[in-house]
Symmetry: C2
Subunit: 373 residues, 2 copies
């Protein structure tokens, strides 16, 4: 896999400077509305119809507030103090559609925007904002049958801990007690945790909507912490997957198969992940090809036929990324794998980078390809 582009992507993720690079707009339309991810009753931050974001933070005696979101890379958006003591400011241009992490630098300290909900990313609970995407319907909360997201606590002897996972069970799971389901093990990225795929990713809503439209056969999704923060800032290259591999394959999978109505065999078990979760997927599926029948890397590198040779053949290899990442990477890898006789699919998310809209779209493309035969 391409480690350099992955690390570059992670650095972009950390600095929060994902933006529409070609934007030259100098003024924003005055149709700002509160972000859908604001805390109850909070008016700011706001987003306009073009994707500009406006911030307003109260700190009467502060000297400076900078937001780590905006054009201009690492500098983000500098707020200015108005006559009432509020710090206000608007991004210099429209942000990419979708979800973005950010925080405030208040007089030199790192704090969250008190207006927004928090999301775990960059190894901290960050502020989050949503720029409405033109295709947001596929992950919208609608009035239709919904699956549940269950917090489960499982015993891990290998780490001597009780560990947490979230299990998405599809609509109808509680009612038809005879049905058994395939399972996708779905990993978050570096600096995130087991909450990311449902909180930021809306994985449950994507599934509910696809199932309601009859576009997929229902399956279970299991999300747990990939222990990726063992290697903290700067230490990604030294990350060892072994500890997590044991938790996943020797502890979590048996727990899920014992406690949920799964189809407990390789051809009904998939592994996928975003960014560093893709790296984990790559390593674990190659190390244990008998465990999983479907592999998915979302902005998480590529497979090649040489490394797969002489191993149990997967039914699908899915590789995706945003158009602002390295689309040639996943497209070329899929071509190479197809030439070698593999069922490989690549997908490139339009006008997005190393960020959650890319991965929501990736899951939306992936789900119909899983467990169909």
């Amino acid at each position: 896999m391409n480690m350099k582009s992955l690390v570059t992507g992670l650095i972009i993720l950390l600095t929060g400077c994902i933006c529409k690079a070609q934007s030259n707009q100098s003024s924003a339309a005055e149709d700002f509305k509160p972000s859908t991810l604001n805390q109850p009753g909070q008016e700011y931050p706001q987003v306009n119809s073009q994707g500009y974001v406006r911030f307003k933070v109260k700190a009467l005696k502060a000297d400076s507030i900078r937001v780590t979101l905006g054009l201009g890379g690492h500098n983000g958006t500098v707020l200015t103090k108005n006559a009432e003591g509020y710090f206000v400011g608007t991004t210099a241009g429209p942000m990419d559609e979708g979800f973005h992490y950010y925080h405030l630098i208040v007089d030199g300290g790192v704090f969250n925007d008190p207006g927004t909900l928090n999301f775990y990313g960059s190894t901290r609970w960050e502020s989050g904002i949503e720029v409405p995407a033109h295709d947001q319907d596929f992950y919208a909360l609608r009035d239709l049958p919904h699956g549940n997201v269950q917090q489960v606590l499982f015993s891990s002897k290998s780490t001597n801990t009780v560990r947490r996972a979230f299990v998405y069970t599809p609509p109808g799971y509680e009612k038809d007690k005879s049905q058994h389901y395939p399972v996708l093990y779905l990993q978050h990225g570096w600096g995130e945790d087991e909450t990311a795929w449902s909180n930021q990713g809306h994985a449950n809503l994507i599934m509910d909507n696809l199932i309601n439209e009859g576009k997929i056969k229902p399956f279970i999704i299991v999300m747990t912490y990939g222990m990726t923060n063992v290697a903290r800032m700067g230490g990604i290259r030294s990350f060892k997957v072994d500890t997590f591999q044991r938790v996943l394959t020797e502890e979590l999978i048996p727990f899920v198969d014992a406690n949920f109505r799964t189809k407990a065999d390789r051809m009904h078990r998939a592994m996928g992940g975003l960014s560093m979760g893709g790296m984990e997927t790559h390593a674990i599926t190659l190390a244990m090809p008998g465990e999983f029948g479907y592999y998915a890397l979302l902005s998480g590198g590529t497979f090649n036929s040489a490394e797969l040779k002489d191993k149990a053949k997967p039914r699908l290899i899915f590789m995706s990324c945003g158009s602002r990442e390295k689309p040639d990477g996943v497209n070329n890898a899929a071509s190479e794998l197809k030439s070698a006789g593999y069922n490989a699919v690549s997908y490139v998310s339009p006008n997005t980078g190393h960020e959650f809209l890319t991965w929501r779209r990736g899951l939306y493309q992936l789900a119909p390809l899983l467990f169909q035969n």
Copy 2:
């Protein structure tokens, strides 16, 4: 119910000044450890063996940081800037055992402590800290069979929304498909939401531990948003319970009975709540005595025999509070109800006020009394 003491309790909750009033200690033991509610890898805030809390916040260019937790009432703890630009400070005395909400005032702005996890209270996601309680074992995470906390999304025609609830299903729920369970509908307090009883209250762990010790028969707990923030700051007296009553009794209960293996009758259905959730319990059980067979008010007022007269008789009336609230209120109410022939029980949590350790202990006392006949 005693509205005045309830409002006083809410004000105490808001200002975060709950503390051991009699403390005269002038110096803290130097055995501080990171709070168990810190974000991963964060060293501060810390708590010592006596219950003092120490804060350390980086903000090189800030002029002042005050923490809304500490002795001295509303003023909390003022931090002082050290040579490295960190703001540091320790509460002037030990805090009550258990969970406390707080936030920072940084140069006049309200921000969370970047060191801690966040918890929804006071109508915002607040910083949280845990002062280890001498009896913390009853809500500790142990290596034993655990129930699940399931996020469910249900359709509410009366409010034209899709609403969220959390459903605790006990260990074994997934395995023995023939067993049906009683249900406790358990409400949060003012300014909180449906996440409070599991995040701050550890309701799931309290149940797991009680079940593991054979002290209770397993039951389901359902937690949803009581819509208490419709009346925001200062408007508590004008709160009308009708809208929530309809969501609960006409929409959520039928949904739960249709989607979980419940015993769907009055004698296997309880309602309880803390603080304003107790107020809701009081109002809804009196309005619809045919719905619930067990009533529980945790720091949420009292019942009297006059208001219960000529209504279907509950099997249990449980009333509790902290010793720093008004223990005479719940004790006298229980005596009066017992004289009138009701099965009434009061419980007073030692050395606590209007705060979550009181309510954790309340649930621990309540659970063995529910659904036993």
